[in-house]
């Protein structure tokens, strides 16, 4: 490998040797990434080369805001060759509060140096409280930190649904007024922010977007929510491994039944797969071991913005409808329809009885 790409690759090759990643594994990773990005085999060496440009490793600054750190957790559980190594050593993560070894003064210096040098990839995990004093790091508001680091970044990746739209911390009633990165930074950064929805983020998607950037020096094509179309372009329902059960009308009606054991469709258990655009059924989680539906849980739609509120009632197929003017009064759509139908039937019956005189008169004429 060193021969092929020259001395520039020394850092990487040493890193790989140090963390006992085999060349085969590394190339396998490159192949997987090429597959994820929809590139041909011919790109595999190019991907390897892009990652291997040893001396010019793009610095990554990973900021943690209001979240449960699930995305970092997802990152360190990731695929081969151990994405923690990949992202930490190959991509040079200068700062990540959760997994960095350094602390205090030392790490603040690194962070400030990155900020001064600029041209880093800014990864933001977690929502941003927009009220003063509701979320602070080292005496600074999270919102101010985000605004401080955003201008010098070459790309901003909002990972996980907390960072993209607020996620769980921003769920109703949201006392700290948490917002997503795009909402906080505003339109000026449109096109520069990539929203990687899902809770937690799928690390293969994250790595693929970074590799895509290294390879082509641009961000992938984004949809209206700022998500890469490549990954968030298709409905979970359309790629679901249980779709055949849906099409054939085989449903789980209740948990703990034979149907559930047989792995039938979870549509009636409130699965939000038919409303969610995400790559879960294709890429899966935890080294491609499993994902929610494979594990037997209905999808809660965490790939869609505002899922915590709009999909609430995670085991209900549709949310309840609140009647305007009556706060707190909620009905299911079924009940509303049925009530209106019954009222109509009663009304018609009453009207028919009342009309009997007219009908009689009509008969006499």
């Amino acid at each position: 490998m060193r021969k092929e790409y020259g001395l520039a690759a020394r850092d990487l090759v040493d890193t790989l040797r140090y963390s006992s990643i085999k060349r085969r594994d590394f190339l396998r990773f490159c192949g997987v990434t090429a597959g994820l990005l929809g590139l041909s085999e011919a790109y595999i060496p190019k991907i390897a080369h892009a990652i291997e440009k040893g001396t010019k490793r793009p610095p990554v600054v990973w900021l943690n805001f209001a979240s449960d750190t699930g995305c970092t957790e997802s990152l360190i559980k990731a695929t081969y060759p151990n994405a923690a190594d990949l992202v930490l050593d190959i991509l040079s993560v200068d700062y990540n509060e959760t997994i960095m070894a350094a602390a205090g003064q030392q790490v603040e210096e690194i962070l400030q140096k990155s900020l001064k040098d600029g041209n880093y990839i800014l990864v933001i995990e977690g929502g941003i409280p927009t009220k003063h004093g509701y979320g602070m790091i080292a005496g600074k508001d999270m919102m101010d930190i985000a605004k401080e680091f955003a201008p010098k970044a070459i790309a901003i990746l909002a990972v996980g649904s907390c960072a993209t739209h607020g996620g769980v911390p921003a769920a109703n009633p949201n006392p700290s007024a948490i917002k997503g990165v795009s909402a906080v930074l505003g339109d000026a950064y449109k096109g520069k922010i990539v929203n990687l929805d899902l809770c937690p983020v799928n690390v293969e998607v994250l790595v693929a977007v970074i590799v895509n950037y290294l390879l082509f020096k641009k961000l992938p094509e984004l949809d209206v929510y700022g998500r890469p179309k490549t990954f968030y372009g298709q409905l979970i329902h359309d790629n679901c491994e249980r779709r055949a059960h849906f099409d054939a009308g085989r449903f789980v009606e209740r948990f703990g039944t034979e149907e559930e054991a047989l792995g039938y469709c979870l549509y009636k258990m409130g699965c939000k797969g038919p409303m969610t655009y995400a790559p879960c059924p294709k890429i899966l989680y935890n080294d491609r071991i499993s994902w929610c539906i494979k594990a037997g849980a209905p999808c809660i739609g965490c790939g869609e913005q505002g899922w915590t509120d709009k999909f609430a009632g995670f085991y209900e197929r549709l949310p309840d409808v609140s009647i305007p003017g009556f706060k707190g009064v909620e009905f299911t759509a079924d009940k509303i329809g049925l009530a209106a139908g019954v009222a109509t039937a009663v009304g018609i019956a009453a009207h028919a009885i009342a009309s009997s005189k007219r009908i009689k008169k009509g008969g006499e004429e």
Binding site: V224, L235, D238, F246, D247, A248, G249, R250, F251, Y267, K268, K272, P274, M275, E304, G306, K310, F311, R317, L318, P319, V321, A333, D334, I336, G337, A340, G341, T344, A345, I348, H351, A352, A354, S355, R358, I359, K361, G362, G363, E365
Partner: protein, 218 residues
Amino acid sequence: MPKKVQLKYEWNWAYRIEHWVHVASMIILVFTGFYIHWPFCLAKCPYCDFNRFLHFVSMYTLIIGLAIRVYMAFFSRFYADWKDFSIIQNIKGAPEMVAYYTFLKGEHKEYRKYNPLQAFTYLSWAGLIIIQALTGLALYTGDVFGLFSSQSAFGWINRLLGGEGFTRILHFLIMWYFIITAVVHVYMSLLQTLVKRDRTFQSMFTGYKLSSATGKKR
């Protein structure tokens, strides 16, 4: 008092076919729609994919049917009825019809084809078929008429309503409006037939209605 009664050709073949195509597609849409909403009678009915297929085909039929119906309203050589749907005219006439149907008044003005309440209902059907088509397409993931991606063209509706779940709820509640008004529609035509003995109900099959010469025409 014997009135002079004559047969009147009320609906030509085009109107009748259009009507029954709408009826058929509506019935299929409601049935399959309920199935998609909550799959039932699992072992005996056609399965989900077939129900969805029928649902989509019927909706396409309905959309095309509406387009033809609007064309007929303006250019039918038999009877172009677009003037009968004049909102201003019908607002003026509506109170009398409401009074008639609530037994406050014994008689009402005769209309050429549709009384004001009818005209409003049919106009609302036309509007709501369009809304059903739009909300349906916002939920659909295929290509509209096989031409362009439904999601990229109509995804904004989901964003407007706050998510697919709410689009579904709207789609579902409008279906109930169709069910209710359709039942009322059948009831009213039966009632008219019984009260006036003018074969209104049969006219949608045969095309002919009995017309009393005394009725005021407009």
